[in-house]
Symmetry: C2
Subunit: 436 residues, 2 copies
Amino acid sequence: MKHKETILLKAQQKEVVIGIIGLGYVGLPLAVGFAEAGIKVLGFDKSQQKVDKINHGENYIKDVRDAALREVVENVTFHATTDFSEMSKCDALLICVPTPLDHFKKPDMSYIQAACEEIGRNLKPGTFISLESTTYPTTTEDFMLPIIERESGLKHGIDFWLAYSPERVDPGNKNFVTKNTPKVIGALTEDGLEVGKAIYSFAIDKLHAVSSPRVAEMVKILENTYRLINISLINELALLAGKMDISIWEVIEAAKTKPFGFQAFYPGPGVGGHCIPLDPFYLEHIAKKFDFDLSMIHTAGHINMRMPHYMYIKITTALNRHKKAINGSKVLFLGVAYKPNIDDERESPALTIIDTVLLKGGEVSYHDPFIPSIKTENGNNLQSVELNADTLEGADCVVITTNHSVFDAEFIQAHSKLVVDMRNVIEEASEKVYKL
Amino acid sequence: MKHKETILLKAQQKEVVIGIIGLGYVGLPLAVGFAEAGIKVLGFDKSQQKVDKINHGENYIKDVRDAALREVVENVTFHATTDFSEMSKCDALLICVPTPLDHFKKPDMSYIQAACEEIGRNLKPGTFISLESTTYPTTTEDFMLPIIERESGLKHGIDFWLAYSPERVDPGNKNFVTKNTPKVIGALTEDGLEVGKAIYSFAIDKLHAVSSPRVAEMVKILENTYRLINISLINELALLAGKMDISIWEVIEAAKTKPFGFQAFYPGPGVGGHCIPLDPFYLEHIAKKFDFDLSMIHTAGHINMRMPHYMYIKITTALNRHKKAINGSKVLFLGVAYKPNIDDERESPALTIIDTVLLKGGEVSYHDPFIPSIKTENGNNLQSVELNADTLEGADCVVITTNHSVFDAEFIQAHSKLVVDMRNVIEEASEKVYKL
């Protein structure tokens, strides 16, 4: 195989050029990782703004160190562009584009499709292609491969190799970043796997090979389905526990003392982010093709979709203590990020709750130290207000939707008339403090 | 409080007498644990056979060391009896009776009720009472307390203390036994908690106190519900993976390389044992009283109930390769224990599958190195056959239902015409080997 020998030799001499398609929370850290290893990286993104920022050494992803980005850009190891024809300079193309759900919770494959079309049009023979985006099993083989072959006129296994290697980025995780998180990879051919390992090992410490892309696709879905299922379970149990006068938080703390066979999950206003609320439904989508009903995912999805509504009810119940209705009440939300200490509000249940409260006539404000402004699903635009004694005291109800570490439980409690704590920020429930 | 001072002083001088009610896989190790700490233990059980065995120093629980039992019996630290009036000699009574489900999957509280009645009739003032059996939240307070007060004429908080402290016995676990597994305890009063801690600390290294029995009851249910939910999820995904030509075992091995936020569960013919298939339904039972539908448990239960049926279908599909029907085929089951390396077949899905195969005209035999004979739900009695080349060769289909470590995958594969492997004992699927 001439192409294989060429790319492996180039890799050995660190002369491969890596193209990263999509420069978000997955692609940017990966690009910087390769560049830091001394590999030349071309970053592709449709956003001129992102590309300009990168080429000026300006970082916009919390998990990337500003200095690291600046250094690799200044050393010309990493350059970003909106010009997809430059893909022809790359020996490997790693696709890190979004795979959202549409409004009907169906997979939106348009980003993968567009990436494959661009790749097909600009593909240099002898290129390794890998998808990192979460998607349903069979995507690489049955969805991507035909597009790339059609657009390029090239033949897989002879002219290029295709693999799937799911990202495992956990935003805000200080212990595990792109480099030291083991990475699963499944290629369509043995050659593809060999080349893929040679490429990825520049940026990833440990690779775990599986026998096919579809196995790797299923791995990623299993990991996130596991999380969805368990968060949904604990959310459902939290609602029951509330009725039974049992603190679910106390229950979880005690269950955690079991030294085997248990992993703690915590309830909250619902699951958010770009992975857990979405990935399992990719599997549900493909399962239909196999006449298969994934009842666990279906049930978990149902609970999760209802959580913001239940949380709205909790707010009305709390206000009711003060003989107040939502309609006309001032409600201050603390935290709109979908998890603590990050600046990402995608799919955050806080936004859904805010929409409901607004719809019912509540006067909503919010504070989030990491997110200066939000636009909700219903198109409501809000700016973060300051968190101080005045803003707390001015609210009829303060709702803690994200447990950012900077939130001072005592201060919030001292200055609020009424608190609905959905995140166990305040230790004790009381007349004034409603807890999930 | 006179009673409290008395019992704490007795405990300090190691002069308390502990009564253990129910001498099964929970009660017997606990009894031996107290006795080994030099505390006098009276064991209560309705089974004359068990009581006789114990008093002759004959052990019948795998997790108890034979020598340990013999020693404490010979030293007269531990004595067993069927005479419940001897409860009046005890300072603490720990209830370790079964809490099964009836045929309609409703809690069978008769064992707890009987224990409470016996306790009530024989209670000495100043006694600490604790329930260890898994049950629905509110049992201790709303079910047990009234029975004991009524039968004894004594008053809780004045004459006796009641607590709930769930067992966490994991049969076959070599690392965590009764003593070194942290134990949760929730009492109805602070005095009860203080006394309970003094008592239990003789046999348990680490106690974790919670604010009420109902919290402790929920802890135990959460632990086992977590397991049921996750086993059901992986079973459902295994069925889909089978249709999609994906090895679920390979998927799980790869997912395990994620160093955070994942815990591996494995598929199989269904969940068995005395805990996981039962405990969550105790919660479902009480939830109805609160007009609450536990959809995750319901769905998980549905999958689990169907698994033996799906496994029966797998056997028919495998036989179909050889143009054989179940009717008239010889089917040899390997392993009937509900998990590997233990001698317990309670609620084991293997028994349900055996019943189905028999019902459909299959000729069933089984081998289990730890279980010499079985009686199925349908009343079929079978004796374990030898596992050798002849018995394997004589079967039209060999079904691996339990992954006992002693099973030799190569030997089984070499001598079988056809294998249905439900436990990933044989590495590779093939013409001859069907895998779940």
